[in-house]
Amino acid sequence: MTPDPDPVQEPAQDGTRRLAHAPALDVDPLLDDPKTRIVVCCGSGGVGKTTTAAALGLRAAERGRKVVVLTIDPARRLAQSMGIDSLDNVPRKVKGTEGGGELHAMMLDMKRTFDEVVEAHADAERAAAILANPFYQSLSAGFAGTQEYMAMEKLGQLRARDEWDLIIVDTPPSRSALDFLDAPKRLGSFLDGKLIRLLTAPAKLGGRAGMAFLNVGMSMMTGTLGKLLGGQLLKDVQTFVAAMDTTFGGFRTRADATYKLLQAPGTAFLVVAAPERDALREAAYFVERLAAEDMPLVGLVLNRVHGSGADRLSAERALAAAENLETAYAETAENLEEPRIVDQGGGKAGLRNSPDTYGSSESPAPAPSGSRPDESPSSRPEDMTDESPSSDDPDRTVDQLTAGLLRLHAERMQLLSREQRTRDRFTARHPEVAVVEVAALPGDVHDLTGLRDIGDRLAAGRPELP
């Protein structure tokens, strides 16, 4: 782990917070390149993965490509914004897009996808037997790994149809972001592995004398399994496996094909994260894992990044200034306790003005409240008793508001520096990864306009400063 950068360091004068060594990710060339055929968005839960996938899909379509977005578990309103709130496992054309391309979207129905695989590869009778098997029904309804497997299966199907220039796929909200890489292999190796042969052994090996010894070992094993699982379940598993085995002719081949598709030129992985410790830790892990698997990573999308149009004003200075306003107000309130002649003198604006003294190159600390007024540009002149803190005094209320604005700004700047530190940690570990930052939005996306806006932010590559 690298040491944190100095948290109080002032950002650069031009307001940019990009590190020199983090290359910028430019999404438009990626989306426009006809050689880009698949974009996989991955990352941990709650970082805006599905929204990113949808926004990229819309942007690519409006830039002229024929796109399909495969979402796994979209939030209801996001799905509605693309008109896919009914789950039917078929890509539907999204209405209301602009430009020359087309956007199609679909939501993955795991069970339906699994059923389709069975129906496509088995004759009607065998398919019916598999579909009716209780073990199959549980497996296909979404237990460990099925969702990941089916997402990749669907991706393979969409790619094979060759109807779209570009497929953008969202990855399932797994317990680990890598499950979609591992699950197909696991399921494949299980279905092609020793255990399957063992489970189906009694049927296959029965009667062959030379195999008698082996057979005893195996029936001992299946005996153990039977004891554990209960006889009926084991029988269900065996029936299921036998049916799958003879019908599919190598589940692993399919899993391998999908895996190769992910490594192929034309596939681009985008890791999506938010500038939070856990999300970026997961992102770093993912980057390493993709490299190890020879999967082509194009960059990191960093969602929900905060910015500030006033980032030259540090949190410390803003807080000190807010305190100045509040202290001055409290002091005048105290003074008001005793009756005194109120100075009605003019030139208020002049008195309230302080010279232009702040800036990163100058001493950042405002005068502490105890300092002498003639030396302190920030403390109020003593004679400003016209700032009487009565409820109808507009200045008093404005001062209070201004103090609030400054505290709000200080909070924002603290958040900025925390995000920056988290990000720097990632960049230090993976300086080669191109990054695009997307500004935080106050609310969620409800329509194509919202998605388009996110697409613009993705392409602009820098948070729009409020």
Partner: protein
């Protein structure tokens, strides 16, 4: 107070943090809690700033008044071997099964077996007693899978009991279900004051209720402090920019004249206030949605310095003060 406290929530809401803070909060006054991790993320170790947790119950923190927090990261594979050994003395067979890929099958591919093992291990810790017949752990807190999968995860034993109609797995599944559906268990959902997590919380609660799983409380995490009150927000819309510029200048932030340093701050600061107002209104709406769920609700503050061990104790105190423990 239920002895098994299950903490779920949408990804990114900080459910691991809340689970850890709850385990600390429940461990006051000499109590002992076990914090259980089921997703293999090692999030607990990171929170408590210790090395990765092995499959072993290990003390990781001391709470106020001498209470203790133990932690366990459940590894499904080891849990299965454990289970085979414990109930069937099948240590050797376990190794043979492993060689064949059967353990791999059971813990990664087989429908729900993995979840059976995870929930089973947690329930075992809930029921475990010492020689004198006292419970080893006063409370077990589970850092559970996210809201989208929690009902299925907790209900897996029902499904398994249906699949394996007889045999030890059937019996074990039913025993676990009895704990999970009783008052011994409470399922809490962590959310943020944002639309998607709140919606997911509402959906998750409906699912839990439909499955007759005991819903506990809603914990709103990372609540930001109120920076501007209603009067301020009204004023933001009408205040003359020059007045704010003058006020900023009076606070020592430069000149209020056009182009002066204080004047240049006015627009960005007001823009931030407008953004704050928008978020504030959204949060208000989301609170109203949560209120309709008719469940006890707790709020935990966003820690300005980010999450660390001190922050964890702060959140535990907060939960204790709010009567969650």
């Amino acid at each position: 107070m239920s002895r098994l406290q299950v903490v779920s929530g949408k990804g990114g809401t900080g459910k691991t943090t809340v689970a850890a803070a709850l385990a600390l909060a429940l461990a006051t006054e000499g109590k002992r809690t076990l914090l259980v991790e089921v997703e293999g993320r090692q999030g607990i170790a990171q929170l408590f700033e210790t090395e990765a947790l092995p499959y072993e119950e290990r003390k990781i923190a001391v709470a106020q008044g001498g209470g203790e927090v133990y932690a366990l990261a459940i590894d499904p594979e080891l849990a299965l071997l454990d289970y085979l050994q414990m109930f069937y003395k099948l240590g050797g067979a376990g190794r043979a099964l492993k060689k064949l890929g059967a353990i791999d099958f059971a813990t990664t591919v087989a429908p729900g077996l993995r979840d059976v093992l995870l929930t089973g291990k947690a329930c075992e810790a809930v029921r475990r007693k010492d020689k004198a017949g006292r419970f080893i752990y006063d409370y077990v807190v589970m850092d559970a899978p996210p809201t989208g999968r929690i009902t299925r995860f907790l209900n897996v034993n029902d499904e398994v009991a249906g699949l394996a109609k007889i045999g030890p797995i059937h019996n074990q599944a039913q025993a676990v279900m009895r704990v999970l559906k009783s008052e011994e268990t409470a399922v809490h959902l962590v959310t943020l004051l944002e639309e998607m997590p709140v919606q997911e919380t509402a959906d998750g609660i409906a699912e839990l209720r439909a499955a007759r799983l005991p819903v506990g409380r809603v914990i709103v995490n990372m609540v930001r402090p109120e920076m501007l009150d209603a009067a301020d927000l009204d004023l933001v819309r009408t205040v003359p920019r020059t007045a704010v510029a003058q006020s900023l200048s009076a606070a020592g932030l430069g000149g209020a004249r056009r182009g002066g340093k204080a004047e240049q701050l006015v627009n960005p600061l007001l823009a931030q206030a407008a953004e704050y107002a928008e978020r504030h209104a959204l949060e208000h709406e989301q609170r109203a949605v949560l209120a309709e769920l008719d469940l006890p609700r707790h709020e935990l503050p966003l820690l300005a310095e980010g999450m660390d061990l001190a922050g964890l104790y702060e959140l535990a105190n907060e939960l204790r003060e709010q009567g969650m423990s």
